[in-house]
Amino acid sequence: MKVTFKEWNAVATWRWDMPDDDVCGICRVQFDGTCPTCKFPGDDCALLLGKCGHSFHMHCLMTWIQQEASKGLCPMCRQKFEWKGNEEDGNATQNTQDITQDTTQDIQA
């Protein structure tokens, strides 16, 4: 017998490439959820990854940064908040790719 798959309709979930149970330091909502002002997660409510290692919903952080009192510091560690810009983009994708490979290998094992 030969088995051919004509069509495979799969289902997948997406996650931000972050540790599982991490929540936004500002709104305390999981990254996979939305910030309080947004309705739809993902593209509409992106994350900002800080160089200091802290990440937030973009909208949450923007609200904070725009305040005088913030002085442009990370609300968690009080370092200057700089997000991982485009120059590291390729690197980041590389990392995520590695991780995906790992997970698929896990599944196969």
Binding site: M1, K2, V3, A10, A12, T13, I107, Q108
Partner: protein, 915 residues
Amino acid sequence: MPPTSTITTSRKRVFNSVFSASPALGPFSTTDNPPLKSIDPLATSRSFDDSQLTEPDEPGPDQETWDRAWDAATAFLAVPDRGFAALGAFEDIDEDVFLKRWNRHERPSRKTADALRVLVSQEQRGSIIDWYGQEIRRHFLKNFRDGLFDLLCYPEKEGLLQRIVRCLELARRIYFTRLAEYILPLLDASEKERAFLKLHRTFHHMVAYSSALPWDRVSALLNREFTKEALTILGIDALKEEAARGDVSIDEDMEVDREFSVSYRRWREEPSVDARMEMMTENEDAEVVAARDRLLSLLNGLQLVGLGGDKAQKVFAGVMNSMMIEFVLAAYPGQWEGPSLVSQHLRHWVENVFARLVVQVLAIINVPESGKSSEHLDVNLSDVEKWYETGFTCVGTLRMRELFDVMVEWPASSGAIDDLRRFTTNPATRLYFTLSFASVLCDRLLHPGASTVEILQLYISIIRALNLLDPKGVLLDRVARPIRRYLRDRDDTVKVIVGGLLADPDAEGQPAPSTRETLAELSAELTKAHQNSLQNDGDELDWNDMNWMPDPVDAAPDFRKSKTADVIGSLISLFESKETFVKEMQNMLAERLLQKRTDYVQEMSVLELLKLRFGDNALQACEVMMRDIFDSRRVDGVIRNDQGLVQSTTPDEPTEEIPDLHAKILSHFFWPDIQEQAFKVPEEITALQQRYSTGFESLKPSRKLTWLNNLGQVTVELDLDDRVFVDEVTTWQAAVIYAFQSTTPDDKQPPVTKTLEQLTQELQMSPALVRSACLFWISKRILTEPQRDTYRVLETLPSGENEPGTTAEPNTTDDINDDTSAAASAAAAADAAAAAAAKESAEAAAMEKMNLYWQFIVGMLTNQGAMPLQQIVMMLKMVVPGGFPFSNEELREFLAGMVSKGKLEVSGGKYKIVP
């Protein structure tokens, strides 16, 4: 003065004539007067008193002549004592002989005639008539009283009343013949009238008040007779017959049988008003006419002998009252078609049949003693109106009793609601309505035997019906409370409601849109309700509403007409919080969205409509879910393009065929927890998934995909030796069948055989799931199970079931249909196995959750020492955020598992951590 003096003197004369020592007295005077005296002491004593009180007797014109005349006349008039037996024998002998027996036949001799003339012509002529009255009384009491009394002792005898009436008529005749023939002609007109009435009254009083005919018995008899005839005359017995005969043969039978009918149904079916009119008024059939004649002649007799009058009227009124109820009960049960014509029909009947009988009867028994005034009407219009009201109240009561069934039949029974609307017009009937209906509901609906769908179905009917009945919603509010309370306690209420909302509305073409499983009409209702709400956006605080009415008095204190009083609103507001509802909505939506379909129009519209009710925020998750599905479609296209997953459209290019991999990418945070049953998907697919993931990650930076391999659909094509099988199956079924693929394309190779264990190992799938998949394939006749838990590919169908010529058939489902029974049972087995697998995975998921609590338990037992189960549960319930969702039993099972793993030990009912 003169009249009293004549009376007293005449009394004295009577007294004297009776008690004088005159030897010429009749044979009866001396013997029979003592009993009379004792029976009627008042009369006698009065005459004594009178004689003593009045002045001495003024001498008559000729005392001698008078006395002689008196003797002759009394002898002539006296009635012989023949006893009751002689009266009772009237049936056997003819009238003349009968009268002869009673000494009523012979003409008076000259002497007697003269004597009568003398007595009557005298000034004191009243005396002879008085005497005759007493004679009648005496005779009646002596002869007839006991006989009549005895007759009444057998009240169940047929025609007893008629017999009694006949006896009394004869008695009356006996008493009155001579009076009418010989005395009355001697008097002038007014005297005649007076004398006759006097004796007449004497006779009536005797009949009525002597203990011969105790009224309670007579009234029972009357009641029976009236009822019997009235049933026929009013057409009630015909109605009952009709009902008893059953519905089928009515029409044909009735046409021939009886022209006259008060049947509501036939009345209804009659199209023209005139014909309806005629139906009750014309063409009375012989039976009715006969009954009417019988009744009227009986009444005539009764009236004549003094059993009519007020008392008979009372009995008659009682009978007619019960007739009204009988009629309503016979005519209207189950006649629920709308629009209801019951009120017209009833009015018609009351006016033409009921009132007619009443008029006829009252004309006989309602004769005032002092002549009949011609312009006095026995029945006037307000009476008829009152009867109609009474009748309609009966209809209301009947409908109340039927209400539950009316609700069950709902859209077809709107007529009954019309009737009830006329009935529930005052607080008393409304209270009766709510109380009785609520108790019926408790008895018949709100019990474990009724499925939630049935209850909801009926609740919907009730909502619709009562909204018609009482637009203010007060009745509904009261009736619905117990239902709502009960529904809240049912676990699957939400599920049914949500399922109904999401059900496909295109089921309308089918005969029963709402099956036992789903309430499909809810989805239709949702759309409809929305349109309605657009039309009348009525607000309670609309100050310009000139038609505003206060709530009825029976409204509950906390009653307020909510804007969501329609069906959907009522169902949704069943639950205190929207959360339960939304959560169920999410689950249901998830299930439907993950199906393979081209559009989700129904889901979209339901979601939009629900958003109007719940507000956007409550349904955010559902919206995200919808959007995920639409986004994935777009993203899917982009990724497949990027990664070169799209099949080349040029057919002649002999590239290696790769499966079309499509994916739905979900925002897991907004989807309900999806149970994962991990297993290894075929290599080919894994590779594709990997490429797909890469594509996704390049499209959406810093995000990654997790594949949920147990969800989704696969179209497989199985190339067997003798056939090709194409079908859409689940991913795990596909994975299992993939494992049976031949390693080499060599035809000589024996069919692939694998055991359950091998498959479990190979696919890393739970045995239950493997088994379920295998059973599925067996039902499709791809696999066989030669031994238990061993499966082999059925490369060629066994001969005899499939001709070799048809092997090239691309789809063998037709073959499978040939012996559907085997396939059906196999499919059933597959379904059962799938259910078992699902259950197992659910249990596994529950255990998984339980593992979270394990940390709590370990901590607790470490810190506080050994604990009994009860205490552990209590602590968990207090400590665990969000509550502890498991029952004692489940926890006990879990702990038992831990005990067997050696992590816990039990001593004396207490669990302890193994050190």
